[in-house]
């Protein structure tokens, strides 16, 4: 009950400022809105590791020197960099998802949810950005250092794993953090295919309550906060990985 009183107090105070947060006192709309925050955080938490892992794999393919690995990834990177994420998402959900449903004999058998498609499309889109940044870092490792590692009996994969990626990750970290900040913002495309993340939930509320400004204030503050945290974590990692006596 203490909680209800606090909510009531908040609604009352905001009301005096001319801001309408009355929906918080309702069960249904407040629930949608709270779930929206959780869905967005969940989307971000799942998509970030997906983008990093796939980005690393893409970068490895791009620098492998094997055409059958690099050509398809290069084609995908170009396609995804040069087309709108929203269009990619709609194409994936309306076309690819339908193809999967048909192959499995009906939508009821299709395990792929709209949530999945947002993670896949946004994750792969940002992975393409990561891949380009990491590729640059991999190619910046001096060839003499790679020859030294080869001379010690490192395989191509071991050179990538122990020498190139640790160095490339450090040099591409600022670009990766930028990619992750853009990823956080891109999760809002989910509202186009009815994934009830925070923008979708906010729209649901403001169409009922006509309180766009109030919802926008929270939306903007929420995304600013997430990206503030992402940037701070990025800085922390950068400091942790800094190499003494080395220009990175």
């Amino acid at each position: 009950m203490q909680d209800m009183n606090l909510t009531g107090l908040f609604i009352d105070m905001m009301g005096r400022l001319g801001l309408n947060y009355e929906f918080l006192a309702t069960g249904y709309e407040a629930q949608i809105w709270r779930d929206g925050f959780i869905t967005t955080l969940y989307l971000v938490a799942v998509t970030i590791p997906v983008s990093l892992i796939v980005g690393l794999i893409f970068a490895a393919c791009l620098t492998s020197g094997r055409l059958w690995l690099s050509a398809p990834v290069r084609a995908f990177v170009e396609l995804t960099r040069n087309t709108p994420t929203l269009v990619q998402l709609m194409f994936s959900f309306l076309v690819l998802n339908t193809v999967v449903s048909n192959m499995l004999g009906g939508a009821q058998n299709n395990p792929l949810s709209p949530f999945f498609w947002v993670v896949a499309v946004v994750g792969l889109h940002v992975a393409a950005l990561h891949a380009e940044a990491i590729r640059g870092g991999i190619e910046a490792v001096p060839s003499s250092m790679i020859e030294a590692a080869r001379g010690m009996g490192f395989s191509q994969f071991e050179i990538l794993r122990y020498v190139q990626i640790p160095l490339a990750f450090r040099s591409s970290l600022p670009a990766i953090v930028n990619g992750l900040i853009s990823l956080v913002k891109s999760t809002t495309v989910g509202n186009a295919i009815a994934v009830s993340e925070i923008t979708y939930a906010s729209i649901m509320v403001w169409t009922q309550r006509d309180n766009v400004v109030e919802m926008m204030i929270v939306l903007l503050a929420f995304f600013s906060l997430i990206n503030f945290v992402v940037a701070r974590i990025g800085q922390w990692v950068e400091r942790r990985l800094a190499i003494p006596g080395y220009g990175l």
Binding site: M145, A148, A149, R150, G151, M152, G153, Q156, Y162, P166
Partner: protein, 263 residues
């Protein structure tokens, strides 16, 4: 470089190698016995470093036989086979090439533990012994970027030794160093040779080559012009070209003989 093949650890027979149109090695014959220290000298571009790269299969010649520690290197077809060979043949380069993101100790421990699968504790112990040997015990936790060139090169030697190689190749290991630090690196190599490590050095340090080598090989234009004990190559050769090349040794010091220029 004796005729006996029993103790030969490296044997090159009529090795030819080109990069594209450029012929780099034009029929190299070379036999090196276990425990020997061999210096390869000669002007830049004469194929010295390429000989070393052939021995540990970093490059593959177009023709000729190469036998290293019982392995026919020229017959290796798979990269995995070449990797097996490289694990047994240490190589140290001009540019040290330490891994900048790892401490000195981790640089030494990485390959034995990750590539050879050696026990971590034993390898760390070995690494500390090697650091003592190259007189850098106090730098175990430093990063390469915090060391001088000479210190980095000594770590690179310790890193090569941690693989317990059957022979070590030194490719102009002092050429990138300032004169003051050359000595500390040569000191370490001298110790190593005294301990009986089979060593093949490509070098421009003529005095050092004369002092530590069992055999000196003179190369020019992709061929071995002459070889023999240091006394013979440096002081009693009949070959006018070699006399000209090593001539700077007595008068000009190391600056004069570097790259065979200034003669």
């Amino acid at each position: 470089m004796s005729a006996s093949t029993d103790s030969a650890i490296v044997k090159l027979e009529n090795v030819h190698l080109s990069f594209g149109q450029t012929q780099v090695l034009k029929g190299i014959d070379l036999t090196i016995n276990k425990g020997d220290a061999v210096s390869i000298i000669g002007p830049s571009g004469s194929g010295k470093s390429t000989i070393l790269r052939c021995i540990n299969a970093l490059v593959t010649p177009q023709s000729g036989k190469i036998t290293v520690a019982g392995t026919r290197v020229d017959q290796l077809t798979k990269e995995s086979e070449r990797i097996q060979l490289r694990k047994r043949v240490g190589i140290v380069f001009q540019q040290y090439n330490l891994f900048p993101h790892l401490t000195v100790l981790d640089n030494i421990v990485l390959a034995p533990t990750r590539i050879l699968g050696a026990d971590k504790t034993a390898t760390v112990k070995l690494a500390r012994e090697l650091l003592e040997k190259v007189r850098l015990s106090e730098k175990a936790d430093a990063y390469p970027g915090q060391l001088s060139g000479g210190q980095q090169q000594r770590v690179a030697i310790a890193r090569a030794l941690a693989m317990k190689p059957e022979l070590v190749l030194f490719d102009e290991v002092t050429s990138a160093l300032d004169p003051e630090t050359v000595g500390e690196v040569l000191w370490v190599i001298r110790d190593l040779i005294r301990d009986g490590m089979t060593s093949i050095l490509v070098t421009h340090e003529m005095r050092f080559a004369e002092e530590i080598s069992d055999t000196v090989v003179f190369t020019e234009n992709g061929k071995i012009v002459d070889y023999g004990p240091p006394q013979q190559i440096f002081h009693s050769t009949d070959n006018p070209r070699i006399r000209q090349f090593v001539g700077g040794l007595s008068g000009g010091g190391r600056g004069a003989v570097r790259d065979g220029e200034g003669i």
